[in-house]
Symmetry: D2
Subunit: 308 residues, 4 copies
């Protein structure tokens, strides 16, 4: 029996140079920042990592360099979601060769498809994949909100975990109930605000964008949640709410949190905030506000170490 | 002054072998079928061409082979839409080198973005593109319904045409009105059912999936529409409606027409109906119904030539 | 055989006093303005009439007064749509007693329901209704976009017409094709921009909000469309587009056209622009812009008479 | 200072005779069932009560009879939401005269409106209302998901509580954080599955449809949640999940839970399952399955008393 995937797994931002090539120095800083914060895994090439916007050379280089730097300290999860069928399989094999541990797969995101078409897709795809698979529900990007039947079908095909970024906690609780007798299957929350609820009700981990900024805050909240230390949960959960309200809400674009997280890392001196179109970095005026707010939130204690 | 893009431009299906490699024989048959039908251009790697699902090697081979076979007889439009920024630019240059005439660009389709973010994206992208650009509005796939301001901004950046597959004729008529004094800008309808309305009210062309099956039917309807021959329009428009009702509605998946068109070409002996996941060919039982209905609709006279 | 419903049928604005009681003087002015413009029917208590926002006493008084003033000169259609089941039936009988000619019915608009639930609703309701029924598709308000099967079921139950305000011309053309052999069934377009297309392709009439302002413009466009006088259609259709672009787009709320139409009637001295919450009249600054634009569009010739 | 609204408040089903008149016997049974179950308030004329579908005579009679039967034992909340402006105010005054304690108000549900239009509506409406107001967020029915700014504006106008049936727990947590220093304002969860999360994180009560069937189950879960008795929470929360999965999911219409709850009360002999169109009772075959499942779930112990 495999031990299930669990803990705090940041969906890592991709540090980039101005020419959109990989910033290897920034990557080393960022991974060091995350590992010092005590995270239990690192997920690269996800939504926060701008995976689908990157060129394939950069994706491959990021996989190789991340695996080299992380060097087995924690599991590496690689996003392979793509609209292109053969590219999904190629990237999966590339990740396996590079030493990654898990593949993360959302629906192919161009065509609108039905649940049954998604099941058919997984039936063809999963046997081709060389590593354990985490299925990723993010309907805001993919247009398909995976239902219980689809996730059960995927489980029969061998997937190891669900990462839920649907925002639909009602559906997630129903799914968690359906899998509660399946000790090898992990439920990973994608919404920071529900993190403690999901963990206290039987979930296994969290992919929290904010853990790029404050990894240790999320690690502490994870531990308090699984230990059912309600007072600590209440205190730390409030900090996560502040992060949400003061950092993510700086504008109201649908990707505001993704942009705010990368800008925060730049303010903190970890890596630049260079983004790939269509996403854009914050202008200087917003970065100044961001710097003040990060300071108010207490960068040092929340990051979990003293690098400022 | 450039003469604007116009006429019937099928969004060409991509003929594939069972191993998902390009079926060059099928491609020759299909291009020959379209050119004999009198089409005015061919659009490859669009939604009907399953462009975003194809591997990049197949996409490049399709560009090269299509340009070789078409050989300047009609303009070749190449879909370059991608969630990956650098890949859009690479494919654009590849298409230019291969001899293509136009690039077709929809929003990058992973992240939900705003109209202003789309304008920012175009401001950075369009100067990098080596060929005239057709902007492509297909919110059912991209989640962004381009508004008038975005299209006007894109026009200032140099785009040559709008291909509208939004299904929102009210918005399209407003856009057409805004561009009616701009003789170099083309309005290309993507909805077969509105084709004659758009053409009779000042539009320039149509990208009709059904023109893969019956190219000459659409060419005749195009000519009747621009000549305002209302009786012929009424007669041919009814055939387009029959195509819709008897062929596309064979199931109710959101991609039913795409799958029906590829299956029809297989029934007609032009190319196989091999599709790329997540889309799936029709099962044999449906293909039999399809064959009967195509026969009832009159394959030969609508295709415009005698190859059966 | 009944002659089908046809022509230009304004969805009449409800003239109100500041205390939200019926403005009978304004009503007389407005009906006179519409009849002088040559309209073929008048639809009261629809969406433009703010029907669902009005108190029931006002609704009843409006029905009585409208029937009295119109006095059989044109058919009177009364909107009876309500979330309250028994109220629909009561208002239907009230309208019949008052001398109305048709009832207009959209789905009950509180609960989200399925097509089959709508069919079940109609099966129970339509036998209770004492006048011919026009079914009204307006998913932006009701959340249900009536499909072909539902409309066919409603037709079997005896409905006389479809008024389509879905904005989905593709679906409407499919419906029109399905009913083209049914000479007693009318297709009434609700979208001004598609009016000539629908009429030229077999539709029977139009419920155009703008006909409150410029009834004769729409009557002329109706006649040109059914006579297939393409030059006149093109000229008048352009005026409708201008009305849309210069008058309706004064703000971007979802009900901008409804508010603009009532304000326009106020600017023209026909009735006040008092609205019922949640809708609000335009502020004075906007009304000044509106007045200028109405003047530019040519109030007098478009209204079809000389009352200014 | 008022003590805030709190506890388990069933959104009471409306017992009806076959002729759609109020079933006063059924109403007495149902209220007795709820009060014996220990509920802290009763909400009539909400979504589960089919409020917007009822005739106004029945609504008035229900208000009067409910206030008479409840007789001050717990607070009575009355849904006054209506698309008709003056009717909202009339029903509010009627409820006050009848002895109700709170008014529950959702957006007027016909026109699509903006947040700012909703704020304008509340600014006009709330000063007219004679009782404390609970604002009700149920975008699945009203099309408007109230945002933080709107709720803060409503609070300044004097509302006492938010009842959230949006299903969007992320937004609710942000709202709860914004109001955590406001001891007189109540947060009432509308989603049964989030009930314990909301209560443990600072919420005050729950409007749970399932409390019609098993009032005491929800009362026990409420108490365990506010006492942070995690073991009991886990055990009872599982029963709520079973209720959801075995009773509500009997079909997949959007109103399946509303119909299942009324049918359950019929199976339990409390009142008939007569519904108002457009909603329909379950057919006999489904009621048999329902009866078995209710028995398996343990009607008696969950209802909290012995009346079967």
């Amino acid at each position: 029996m495999n031990s299930p995937l669990k803990g705090v797994i940041p969906p890592m931002v991709t540090p980039l140079l101005q020419n959109l090539q990989l910033d290897v120095n920034g990557l080393e800083n960022l991974i060091s920042h995350l590992l010092q914060g005590g995270v239990h895994g690192i997920f690269i090439l996800g939504t926060n990592g701008e995976g689908p916007s990157l060129g394939y050379e950069v994706r491959r280089r990021l996989i190789v360099e991340s695996c080299r730097i992380i060097d087995g300290q924690v599991p590496v999860m690689v996003g392979i979601t793509d609209s292109s069928w053969s590219t999904v399989i190629e990237m999966a094999h590339f990740a396996e060769q590079a030493g990654a541990d898990y593949l993360v797969l959302a629906p192919p995101y161009y065509f609108p498809i039905t649940q049954d078409e998604m099941i058919g897709y997984l039936e063809k795809l999963i046997p081709e994949l060389p590593l354990p698979v985490v299925i990723y529900d993010i309907p805001g990007c993919t247009k398909l909100h995976l239902n219980l039947k689809t996730i059960q079908s995927a489980r029969k095909l061998g997937i190891q975990a669900l990462k839920d970024s649907s925002g639909d906690l009602g559906a997630l609780y129903t799914i968690m109930d359906a899998f509660k007798e399946d000790p090898e299957f992990s439920i990973i929350a994608g919404a920071e605000l529900f993190m403690s609820d999901v963990l206290m009700n039987g979930g296994h981990g969290v992919v929290a964008g904010g853990a790029n900024i404050f990894p240790n805050l999320f690690v502490q909240l994870y531990e308090a949640s699984i230990n059912k230390d309600l007072e600590t949960v209440a205190r730390l959960r409030h900090k996560v709410l502040q992060l949400q309200n003061s950092i993510y809400m700086l504008d109201d674009s649908p990707t505001n949190s993704i942009r705010a997280i990368k800008s925060s890392l730049s303010v903190m001196g970890i890596c630049s905030d260079q983004m790939v179109p269509p996403l854009e970095s914050f202008p200087e005026t917003k970065k100044k506000i961001l710097a003040q707010r990060l300071f108010q939130l207490g960068i040092k204690e929340n990051a979990g170490y003293e690098n400022q």
